[in-house]
């Protein structure tokens, strides 16, 4: 449904995308995972026919994004990264306006947006400016869905949204996918990656890896354990100076330590006690998406160095 081949794009001296290629299959929920400034929005805008790539080409539903942008715009639902509704119009007015822009009515595809819009219904006479972050995003999603697009492009829909609303939002997405709509979504939150069918790990305008979340985690080649100690900063410093360490990153209230071979927990414990960190806990764990992401980043910096 979406095909991007060797896409590069620069803004002045800043290179936003380096030869990015990816394919999104029909009815897939595809996630673009990466930190802010990785170039996700630029890729979205190219796919949404709003920008022309410097190199490479892209097609959406078989249409070229440059030559046939008009056909694509009929079939596309796009939700930009920033809030893109009329703050002085009410929920209902926003929806009705976008419906007419796309030549449809709220009633025509109501079934599709019902699960989303039902949650907004109590606030339908409230101005969009006065909605909470989560509600705003749900309204934007309803507006992007109103004409029943074949493909939905969602640029960081859950950024700045509370944890509960984020969860609700992803539940809505899986419902939309079941209605037969292909979804390309970007997010800086690694924990959301597991909810996608396939993901692309994105960093500095380059794709580090594309696969299903399970396969991406399975590619993790290192041994991983979580280490906890009261003084996390000292712990991190100490672990990084341990000769056996491959990498160490803070992760929630623990530090994730990766090594190239299975380590002896007692040996590490002794080393930590010796460095003024007695009583630290060490637990072997399975890698998550973020661990794999950091491993790929680490490899990249090593090869560059």
């Amino acid at each position: 449904m979406i095909k991007a081949e060797n896409i590069s794009k620069s803004f002045g001296l800043v290179k936003a995308l380096h030869s990015v290629s990816l394919t999104v299959k029909e009815n897939e929920l595809f996630g673009l995972i990466g930190p802010d400034g990785a170039g996700k929005s630029t890729l979205f805008r190219i796919l949404a026919t709003l920008l022309i790539p410097d190199q490479g080409k892209a097609s959406v539903i078989g249409y070229d994004t440059i030559k046939n942008y008009r056909q694509i715009r009929m079939l596309l639902g796009y939700m930009p990264g920033r809030f893109s509704l009329y703050p002085d119009l009410t929920v209902e007015e926003n929806l009705a306006f976008y419906a007419s822009v796309f030549g449809t009515s709220v009633r025509q595809h109501y079934q599709l947006i019902e699960p989303v819009y039902k949650q907004l219904e109590p606030f339908r006479n409230r101005r969009a400016a006065q909605l909470s972050g989560g509600m705003k995003q749900k309204l934007a999603l309803s507006c992007a869905l109103i004409h029943r697009p074949k493909i939905l492009l969602l640029d960081e829909p859950t950024t700045g949204v509370d944890a509960v609303s984020r969860k609700e939002f992803w539940e809505l997405l899986s419902g939309i996918r079941q209605a037969g709509i292909t979804i390309l979504v970007s997010t800086p939150y690694m924990d959301e990656a597991n909810l996608c069918d396939r993901i692309a790990l994105f960093q500095d305008g380059q794709i580090l890896s594309i696969d299903t979340p399970a396969n991406i985690v399975a590619d993790y080649e290192l041994h991983l354990c979580a280490v906890k100690a009261p003084d996390k900063y000292l712990l991190l410093k100490t672990l990084r100076s341990w000769p056996n360490t491959y990498s160490a990153y803070p992760f929630g209230d623990a530090v994730h330590l990766s090594t190239t071979y299975k380590i002896n927990n007692n040996e590490l414990k002794q080393y930590l006690t010796h460095h003024a960190l007695p009583g630290s806990q060490i637990m072997s764990i399975n890698a998550g998406i973020e661990d794999r992401f950091l491993e790929l980043l680490h490899q990249k910096t090593l090869t560059h160095a």
Binding site: M74, P80, L89, G103
Partner: protein
Amino acid sequence: MKSANRFFSFVKKELLHILRDKRTLLILFGIPIAQVVLFGFAITNDLNNAPISILDRAHDQGSREITERLLSSGYFTLLDNLDHPPDIEAAFRKGKAKLIIEYGPDFYQQLMKGRGLNLFLAADASDPNMANLLVNYASAIINKYILEKLPAMANQRRIQPEVKMYFNPSMKSVFMFVPGVMSVILMLVSAMMTSISIAREKEQGTMEVLMVSPVKPVQIILAKVFPYLLLSLVNAASIVALAYFVFGMPVQGSLFLLGLEVMLFILTSLGLGILISTLVSTQQTAMMISLIALMLPTIILSGFIFPIENMPRLLQILTYIIPARWFLVIIKDIMLKGVGIAFFWKETLILAAMCLLLLGISIKKLKVRLE
């Protein structure tokens, strides 16, 4: 049907924006009314109850009669009576009196004996235009009195031209201001408000979504400017109505033709507004450009306030590209002279060419993408 629907919902949405934004409402309706009232009543070149002082050293029939005539003319009111000649400068210093009239001793006697006019007029020339006006009005009244008293003198005196002011016989400055105010307001509403409202969509990020819709950029822009076209027409109509009913300004020519010419000027302004909106990405810059590049020239270089004939040659050439310059000529021709298109087809043609050029450029500059 679909596109008509789309168009109306665009218009409805735009009207909601306007109605819900107090600032926009104020600019749209507050400023036009304030300007008309301001120019109509307050900022006026007409003489009305100017305070004068009188130093009467004659106290005879002549001085009394002239003073009476001056004060009953409506142009002057008596501030106070002075006693000594040195009071004159002091009176001006105080700044209240605009004009001081001094009758010499035996004023009437000397006048009747034909020994000349023992009369002295002193004006406060810190506002030179006003001083001129005061002296002219006062002289006219005094001359008329003398002629009545001494008809024989009329033959001795050199021939005075009899002046008649055409088209604006009572020289009301409101007749000058109404066309000017109208062009400023139409510029404000059409060019500034549309450029701001398009820039707002860019700022909000809603333009990005609209661009990705099946609607063509031309359709978006046309639907966006339509409400402002309507509002401009309403504004123009209310200015003409206000001028007609409140200030007694005549509409000698065809109202229909007036409407068409106003429409032409509005479309030209809308073209300017769209052009500005394609150049800027924030409301702030849209407003600054509109104010500096459109409003100021419309006020200063259109002939509204400063006569074009008095400008340096370079500025005169610059006025050619100001749409309001041509619009003002047309409006005055229709409203005051009551002549038809035959007399201002040149101006109309220039305006129409500007309109087509601006709309053409701005539509061509509309982008289908972000870059």
